[in-house]
């Protein structure tokens, strides 16, 4: 695919006036409403596919020769439902966001198209349909990333994303073509039926290629570099869609192709998934904990969460290949729960970050602060998202991470060196990830929203309009349900697990999601609902007792804020995101490789007196620098070399064409 970017020298200003405002309003309602309706249809379709019969649809005329075919089973239904749910929240939110940010017509048109393309991917029943939907999704998302293309940073991010997504697509294309050739058909169920006859070499090649292609979409290391570039530069509703719904498609691809169709694979398949997952999780959260751009932080958090999902998938694969079906079902449930919870809190996180961006024009945490007073609604929403992302009880991510840890701890390793080595290491990786994740989220919430504003823009912030708050409330409600009552997901997950027989899909053996979360056959249970109830009761009790104890005390006096004896505090005395992360940056110096520089300027009169201290820190992605820079340089060198064959002479090009035709004719003779 070729993308041509027209660099307009002047940015067309949004035309003001009541008529223009009404037009933008109408367009925003149409686009957002359509997105939400598509999302609702996706949820309904997904749920009906999970609980009812699998849905089939065949449109013969749409693609020449092969036609388009959709088969929606329980696994695809889950991903369609998740995508749909994210789209409902994003659609409602986009109504307000598009008006506030004066969106042009182009992104308004592309938004529902992107959602539609994403809903088609998990429904695809044949290789061609899958590739078509995948490419539609990639193209639509790229167009949306580039919707503010008059900024240089956006164009650079767009180029990066375009190259990586197309490289990933090339890998998937190659893998699926090889797979359908070996599997004797275009339809996924035909391939699945003939999967046993595929040679192990082909299986390995397909596995490695799909892992690369789908892994790059899911943001796994080392193909994660587009996430922290594209997510910050895309408009926030688009970031939410990409981060909460689109990256899931990478995971869907891995589950569908590698685990459901090709599986069960050899032991090393699960092992590779676990290693890639663990490394992505730890690296992602480490970068998130030192990031100062709030959307970049969330982008790295996506890499972290997809890493955890992949780790869980790998654990499920490895365990079921050793016959430990009970624990494998537990790990698989953890993976599915993590996908669901990540979709909910990441939607909310990006939408809340978008509200902040719309209100202040800032993404830099070091310049934010004091938003709790100015934007109370958005603050609560961001808090719920941050709690969910930190994986603590009462947060959306808790149940999934708890189950993942339980499955890793309970894995049998009596006489198996591989399991005995992998599982404790993974427990360590998950624990480190969760711990650093809490630090990252405390930083994002505490520095961004509490204390005093660090800039005039943050001081002048105003609360987001009602439609944006409504969109966020929808996502927050989903977060709270996952956090407090995961019991509602029980029947849904049982159905999806039953569709995955090769990865511990012994549905009866899966963990029981009731009021108490029980693990059949193992000691250990938790109850998020009871934890929440106990917390509420404890808070009420403490409040009541304090009131009762204070009934005879004199009335409270108002005293000035304690400022260490000085007259007042200033925002410069506060922690910034950079200073909060400084100890972590110091501890993980070898991994992060920060480029820091302290410059001290003295007064001209005396070198003992300091006039000013300048601190510069550049935290580039070390993987990107080490891995991508040489590759890009090599490609550029080759391109220079190949360029000699393109001197601009039409005669030569005609000769190339004739020569090419001649070769084809000779070979195809």
């Amino acid at each position: 695919m070729t993308t041509t970017l027209h660099d307009s020298p002047t940015v067309p200003l949004p035309d003001e006036g009541p008529r223009a405002a009404r037009r933008v309003r109408g367009q925003a309602i149409l686009s957002g409403g359509l997105t939400a309706v598509l999302g609702a249809a996706g949820v309904a379709l997904g749920l009906s596919a999970i609980f009812g019969e699998p849905r089939h649809l065949r449109i013969g005329w749409l693609l020449p020769l092969v036609g388009v075919r959709f088969d929606l089973g329980p696994l695809g239904g889950l991903f369609v439902a998740v995508t749909g749910a994210v789209s409902i929240a994003v659609g409602v939110y986009a109504v307000g966001y598009a008006q506030r940010e004066h969106w042009a017509r182009f992104p308004l048109v592309m938004l529902p198209l992107f959602v539609a393309a994403m809903l088609l991917v998990p429904a695809a029943g044949t290789v061609t349909t899958f590739l078509l939907s995948w490419e539609l999704m990639a193209g639509a998302s790229l167009a949306l990333v580039l919707s503010e293309h008059h900024r240089e940073a956006v164009r650079s991010a767009g180029t990066f994303y375009a190259v990586m997504t197309q490289l990933g697509f090339a890998a998937i294309l190659l893998a699926l073509v090889v797979l359908s050739a070996a599997g004797g058909g275009d339809a996924f169920d035909t391939i699945a039926a003939h999967a046993d006859g595929i040679s192990s070499g082909t299986r390995t090649a397909v596995y490695l290629l799909t892992l690369m292609g789908f892994g790059s979409k899911a943001g796994l290391l080392p193909l994660h570099a587009w996430l922290p570039r594209a997510h910050p530069e895309a408009p926030s509703p688009v970031s939410a869609l990409m981060s909460a719904a689109m990256v899931n498609m990478g995971i869907y691809g891995i589950i569908r192709i590698d685990l459901q169709i090709l599986g069960p694979g050899p032991h090393w398949w699960g092992l590779t998934l676990m290693i890639f997952g663990a490394v992505s999780a730890v690296f992602g959260v480490l970068q998130a904990s030192v990031a100062t751009d709030v959307k970049r932080l969330f982008a790295y958090s996506t890499t972290e969460n997809m890493g955890l999902v992949t780790l869980a998938l790998g654990a499920a694969t490895l365990l079921s290949s050793y016959g430990a079906n009970l624990v494998a079902a537990m790990a698989m449930t953890a993976a599915l729960l993590l996908i669901l919870s990540h979709a909910s809190f990441k939607t909310l996180g990006f939408l809340a970050a978008g509200s902040v961006l719309a209100a202040t024009g800032l993404r830099d945490l070091d310049k934010l602060g004091g938003l709790a007073r100015r934007m109370p609604g958005t603050t609560v929403m961001f808090g719920i998202a941050a709690l969910g992302a930190s994986g603590l009880p009462l947060g959306a991510g808790f149940v999934g991470e708890w189950l993942l840890l339980q499955s890793l701890i309970h894995s049998p390793h009596d006489d198996n060196t591989l399991l005995a080595l992998m599982m404790p290491l993974s427990v360590g990786a998950v624990a480190l990830t969760t711990g650093l994740g809490i630090a990252a989220m405390v930083k994002a919430f505490g520095v961004g929203f509490l204390a005093r504003p660090r800039s005039a823009a943050a001081e002048a912030a105003r609360e987001a309009p009602a439609s944006m708050l409504t969109g966020m409330t929808l996502a927050a409600a989903a977060c709270m349900v996952f956090a407090v009552a995961p019991v509602v997901l029980g029947p849904l997950l049982t159905q999806v697990l039953a569709a995955l027989p090769t990865v511990g899909g012994d549905a009866a053996a899966g963990p029981v999601l009731g009021t108490f979360l029980r693990l059949p056959g193992f000691a250990g249970s938790t109850s998020p609902g009871l934890i929440a109830a106990a917390l509420v009761i404890a808070v009420l009790l403490a409040l009541g007792l304090t009131r009762w104890g204070a009934r005879r005390r004199p009335a409270a006096a108002v005293a000035p804020l304690w400022a260490c004896g000085a007259d007042s505090l200033s925002s410069r005395m506060q922690y910034t995101a950079t200073s909060f992360a400084e100890p972590l940056q110091r501890v993980f110096d070898n991994v992060l490789q920060p480029d820091t520089d302290v410059e001290v300027t003295h007064f001209a009169e005396s070198q003992y007196l300091v006039e000013k201290v300048t601190y510069r820190a550049l935290l580039a992605d070390p993987v990107e620098q080490r891995l991508y820079t040489p590759v890009v340089r090599a490609v550029t060198t080759w391109a220079q070399w190949v360029r000699r064959a393109h001197p601009g002479s039409v005669h030569l090009y005609l000769a190339y064409g004739a020569l090419g035709l001649l070769i084809v004719l000779v070979i195809a003779r």
Binding site: A559, P560, W562, A563, G565
Partner: protein
Amino acid sequence: MSWIGKIRRAGRIVEPAYDAPEATVAPPTGVPGSLQLRHVDCGSCNGCELEITSAFSSVYDAERFGARVVASPRHADGLITTGVVTHNMHQPLLNTLNSVPEPRVVIAVGDCAINGGAFARGYGVVGSVADVIPVDVQVPGCPPTPQQIITALRTVSGR
């Protein structure tokens, strides 16, 4: 394991606990044996600071009697002040006093804090602590010994 031997050879070095002195002020919290103090150096020569430090050292161990020095006046039951009040420290002293929740106690340690001492009528001096804020307990001396400081603290902490 040489440290065990060192402990054995050093023996008990804490000063003996004498009988509790007569109380001067009722404990501000209403509970004997708990006195949290915020220290304010209003312009001291640091002699009194050294003595306060050794009063809270392992030899004199003022914490045996319930007195503690805390970091924030919000956590404190009173102030322990040293030195004359200089112009620069006048307002911070008042701010700190206002930040201590009532009922509170003010302990002035050293001659400077009581009457200006050697620095009285200096060009940068507002006056003694007693001139600026109401003082409840005075510990005379230039500087007072740790034992004197502890005795004064015990009259407030009630232990």
